[in-house]
Structure formats: C-alpha cells, structure tokens
Symmetry: C2
C-alpha cells in the first residue's frame, strides 16, 4: 500500500435553495467576479437571474464570458484568462457542467501566468497558483466541482488533455440536485457512465490498497446502478438526483483512490475519441470500458473482477471465477446499453477504424509511451481495444 | 432529506514515515509550538524523539505539556490554554490518541478567550476562533484527528461534555498506521467499538438521507468487523491497522451523516458512565449500544435494522424482518463480546444501579430534556436501557 496525502478543502453547500449563500462566499474573495457559463440554458431555467441577484446583492462587479462549449476549447480558456488580466478579476464563478467548470479552472490558472495557457499541456508548465474559483453545478458527471483537474481540447492539434494540480481545486461548490432536473435523458446517462468510469479506473488495479475504500467504490457503483434509471424515468426525483450528484463528486476527488499510483486507462483512450470526433465523454467511456475490462481479464486480474461482479452486481459468489467475471462485465454492458440506453458501438456513433493507429499512439504517448493501468497497454493493445468497440 | 454543508479542510498525511513532513507543516503556522501528549508512552516508543527532531529541524521553539489523562480533564485544558497565552504559542502539536487531541483542541480555543475554558461547556460560550492544531495520531478510535469536536471531563461537577465547532478542526493530521502497532488488545478493541458506535449513531435513524452514504457506513462497519480481529491477532499487520485508522477518521468527520439532524443516543448515555466511573469510552459504548438497539426496535424502525443485518453481517435477507433484526443485534453483540473480547455487562466492570437515575437525567438534560435519536428517549427510557446493561 502506498502512502498518500488527502486534502480536499472545497466547501460544499449541498441541497435545494443553498444558493442564498453564494453572495457571502463570493465576497470573501474580492469584488470583481468573472461569471462563466455555456450555451445559455441557465438563462432559460432562471438560474442566471438567481445567480445575478446574489452577486448584485453582495455588491460584486460582474463580468461575463458565455459560450463555453462541451469538450471546452483552449480558445475559450485563453479568452477567460485574458479577461481576468484585463479587468483585474478577483474570483471566477463557473455555472454549468464539467466543461464550463474545467475551462474556468484553467482560466483561473492562466490569469496568473504570462505564457499561453496551452503551455500548461504542451510544455507541462508549472501551475503555482490560480485565482479562486466557485462553482454552481448543473450536471452530475465529471466531478470537477470537487477535484483539482480539468480537461481542455485543442482542435488545431487535435489534442484533448487534462491535468490535476492543487491550485485548481474550487474554493466553494454549490450542489443543488434540483438544478439537474432539466438534464435530458442522454446527458443523464452519459454523466452516469462518466462517474462509473471514474470509479472503475481507480477500482480495477492489482495494486493493494485499503479494503475500506473498495467498499466505498462498490457502494457508489451500486448507487449509480440504483438511481440512474430512476432519474431517467422521473427527472425530478430528488433522491435519485441527489445521490447521483454527490456520487459524481466523490468518485473522483481523490478520496477513493487512496495511495494508488497506476494510470487511468479508459480516459486517455476516450480523450482521443473526443478530440477527433467531439463525442460526449461519457458515451465514449461507456463504449470503451467493458471492452477494456474484457481485454484485461486474465489469471492475474480475475480476483478483482470477481469482487466487482459479486459486490456491485450481486453475481452468485459460488460460481467459477471466470464465469463471475464475465457475468460482471455483461451486467455492466447491460446497464450501459440496455438499462440507460447508450449506444454500444463506435459504428453506431459514426466512428470507423481510420484514425485508430494515430489515436492509439497518442493515447499512449500522453502517458509516456504506454498506459500503465490494470494491464500495461501499448499502442497495439489500444488499437485492439478500439477494434473490439466497432 | 436535509441540506448540509460539507467542509473538512484538514490535510492528512497517511502512511508510514510521513512524519518527515511535520516540520514543514508546523513552520507554516509560526515559530512557537506547544507539544502535548499523555503518559509518556511516546517516549518509550521513540516517537517523542522523532517529533522533537522534526521540530528542531524546522527551527521551532518548543514548549511541552505532558500528562494529559484518558477522559481528559478540564484542568489540563486550563493549563494548556494558560501556557499558550503565557508563551505566545503559535501552533499546538498533539501527539497521542483522542484524549490528547480533544484536550489540545480545547486548549487552542481557550488560548483565544479571557474566560475560563469550562464556560465553553457550562455556558455554551461561543468559539469564534482557535490557534492552529496539528496532530500525530497513535490510536484509532475517536476520529478527533479529522473532526471539529472534543470531549472534556470535569471531575468536580462530574460532567463529561463535548461540542463540535469549526475552529477546532485540525489543520494537519499525520496518520501512520505503524504508530498503532503498540496499542494493546484492550485499547484496540475499545477503539473499534468507539468507531463502530460513531457510525451506528449516524446510521440508525428514520430520517431519510442519501443511500450512497448508507453504503459507505455499511462498508466501514464491515471493515471494522473484518480487520479488528486481525489487528488483535497480529498487532503489526499494516493492512489491518491502516484500514482501522482511516475508518476512525471517516466514521465521524461529518461526511457520512450528510444532512441528518437527529441527536446521537449512545454517546450521551456513555458520557455519564465515564464521568462517574472513568471507564474507557469505547467499552461503555460497546455495552450500551446493543441494548439501545434492542430497546429501539419496533415496527417503525425495523426496516433499518433489516438493512443493517443484511448489509453489515450478511444475515439471510429472506428471513422475517424481526428475525433479521434480532440476528443483526446478536451478531454485533457477538462481535463486541466474543470476537474482540470486551466485557458485556455493567456488573462485570463494577457499575451498579446506584447512579442510574442521576445519570439518566443528566444524559437527557444535556440534550435539552430528551434525547431525540432513533427513538426519543426520556430519562425513564435511559434508565431502562441502563438496567438492560446490568
């Protein structure tokens, strides 16, 4: 078991009508706020007005940057960082889903350096500090509201890259499950697949770690399996939305991974898909993940698959190990592709094998040549997994 | 489901040999440190020397207060607060178990006020701030290393009282499982009972809360059941000690309770026992808890007992509900009194019924007249539960 440091000082207001604390929290960090959001759905829902009222009430001077896209682009980040410098912004307020939050976190870092923000990814430039970020979450998926990471796309270089660095951790996040009532079926399902994948990336490892943390991860996976169908059926089910929302945060804030040092596998593969095809992250993960699991299943990993099958999907523990493992993978496929209705192949979403070789190489190169996860994956391995997804 | 605020900014260094970061962390908070500890076992183990070396290396000026007792007394807190004022202490370093940590946290608060520290309990004086506290934990039990509470005894008034207030949260805690290798069987068992009780106090409620949090609590209870016997059998089993240590923190840092507002039941009852008989907190909890559970079991609560029995102790879910409930309670008794070998009655530890009436009344009075937990308990109810413990 490896040592680790746990430090997640984000303050979370969880529940309905907690937004009344937004003004008092913003004020602590200064006077000038940059409000960031996406395509404008927050105007339709009334959330924009509520947030504005809070900021005005707190006497904040508000600047705005809207139009942050899904798979957020480096150009948006550049624009935000520039606005921060130009107007002497004190604090950023991101209202939206993971894309808006990720982009805003990198704006906050970009505001503190002289170089181009893409250098954070292309040159691995240090991130010593960032302006404070406060978030109001409208989609349960990425966990960006309580982690120190952010993923940015660069259409010019066809890269989609992420980093985790402490200064990006939001100071305060508002998690109001009712704000996700209006999230449609497809995005709800993709969000569920995204969080499921965050947990699996940490869970499936041969590194020994705390049993206690495995029980937490299994509990979160059961939570997703239990409540996603409820949220799809009844979008305003508070219980379902609340469970999914808090799970999205804890799936990836570093807690459940403990001291594990292995690389994530499905995320780097999926990032290459999104970078070229601009598909929804969670959908790509749903298609890739079960194939990756099947590819990694062998004598050296089967025990973990047995644990997964029994503790997450209730597969009969008395069956032979490989049978339990296969049934567990099938149960996950059934959940992704039947229960919550996501497409199950690349072919269905218009992805062919034309870029497999390039994507496989890039996915591995971004991790230093090979992906050192549950199984070490070379570009050839990644290509084979992509083939399984067709 | 109630709203809640989650905010646990304590930085935790988890693992072996993490103490090398102690100096750099202390320095952040100033130059003058008050080192607090208990009976001197840290001198025998070499921990005292290691801590001293770190402090000297960081150029700290060190003051010392030793002899903090189990069920720490208000006089120790007074002495510590006084030393802080006298020497202009910047930061407190508590090395020990929950008693040392609790006392130190209240010294840190006492250092910031002019009134007597007991006023925090007798007059509910506000706790606006406290000096920063850093902890090095040597016993897995109370969770004081990552929560904002502390319990203090006053032998004169025969009170044992606790409060949770944000300024008491430690800034940094060092959790090195190897430091608990030397904890004896009895204290290991009592620590396990203490954390088990922390979880049960939050778990057993009729308030609706997040299913996800229930899965976490069940996972932690299974962790305690799995690893306490291992630690008793093989005191230097890293895996067992590490799982117990991290569980002790998460059992009570506020996370698993979510937005639950019900009062704890067994802790106020046990505090009256410790206040008069100075018994080990965890032992008192082990004796009281199963009786309290049996006392509260009825039609309105049985569902939660079924969930407990099935998910924590693997009782057959197809049995009738009350049978599952009873088997769950029996399994807990078996764990406390057989597996980990704690005494099972008041009689065995020298407690008779002579103070039952007074203790029952005080336990309820401290909670405003009745204890509003799983079942609302009047003094008469508490007396009956005490009778069941004889």
């Amino acid at each position: 078991m490896n040592n680790f440091v746990y430090h997640v000082p984000t303050k979370v207001y969880f529940g309905e009508n907690q937004l009344c604390h937004l003004g008092e929290e913003l004020k602590k960090y200064g006077k000038k706020v940059l409000l960031t959001y996406g395509g404008g759905s927050i105007k339709k829902s009334g959330l924009y007005d509520a947030v504005m009222a809070e900021m005005k009430g707190a006497g904040m001077e508000v600047f705005e940057l809207s139009g942050i896209e899904p798979n957020p682009r480096v150009d948006s980040v550049r624009k935000g960082a520039q606005m921060c410098k130009e107007h002497g912004i004190d604090v950023l307020l991101a209202v939206g889903g993971g894309s808006t939050l990720d982009a805003t976190k990198w704006m906050a870092a970009g505001a503190c350096v002289d170089h181009d923000v893409w250098d954070f990814f292309s040159k691995w430039s240090p991130v010593e500090k960032a302006l404070p970020v406060i978030t109001v979450l409208t989609l349960s998926a990425t966990g960006s509201e309580m982690d120190c990471g952010g993923v940015i796309s660069n259409p010019e270089t066809k890269d989609k890259l992420g980093r985790m660095v402490a200064p990006l951790l939001p100071k305060v996040s508002f998690l109001d499950p009712t704000l996700t009532y209006s999230v449609g079926k497809y995005q709800t399902a993709c969000g569920a697949a995204d969080m499921f994948s965050h947990i699996l990336e940490a869970y499936f490892t041969t590194e020994k770690d705390l049993y206690m943390l495995d029980t937490f991860m299994e509990g979160m996976m059961r939570t997703i399996v239990k409540y996603t169908p409820v949220a799809l059926e009844k979008p305003d089910d508070y219980e379902a939305r609340a469970n999914l929302m808090w799970t999205s945060s804890w799936a990836i804030n570093g807690f459940v991974a403990g001291g594990k040092r292995h690389a994530w596998s499905c995320h780097p593969m999926e990032h290459e898909l999104s970078a070229i095809y601009d598909i929804t992250h969670g959908l790509g993960l749903a298609i890739v993940t079960p194939r990756w699991m099947r590819y990694c299943l062998d004598e050296s990993t089967v025990d973990k698959f047995v644990q997964f099958g029994v503790n997450v999907f209730g597969i009969d523990a008395t069956l032979p190990p490989f049978e339990i493992a296969e049934k567990g993978i099938q149960a996950l496929e059934n959940f992704f592709f039947q229960t919550i209705g996501l497409d199950d192949t690349f072919t269905k979403i218009g992805i062919g094998r034309e870029h497999f070789a390039v994507m496989a190489k890039k996915a591995c190169n971004n991790k230093g040549g090979v992906i050192k996860g549950l199984k070490t994956l070379t570009p050839a391995d990644v290509e084979k997994i992509f083939e399984m997804c067709l």
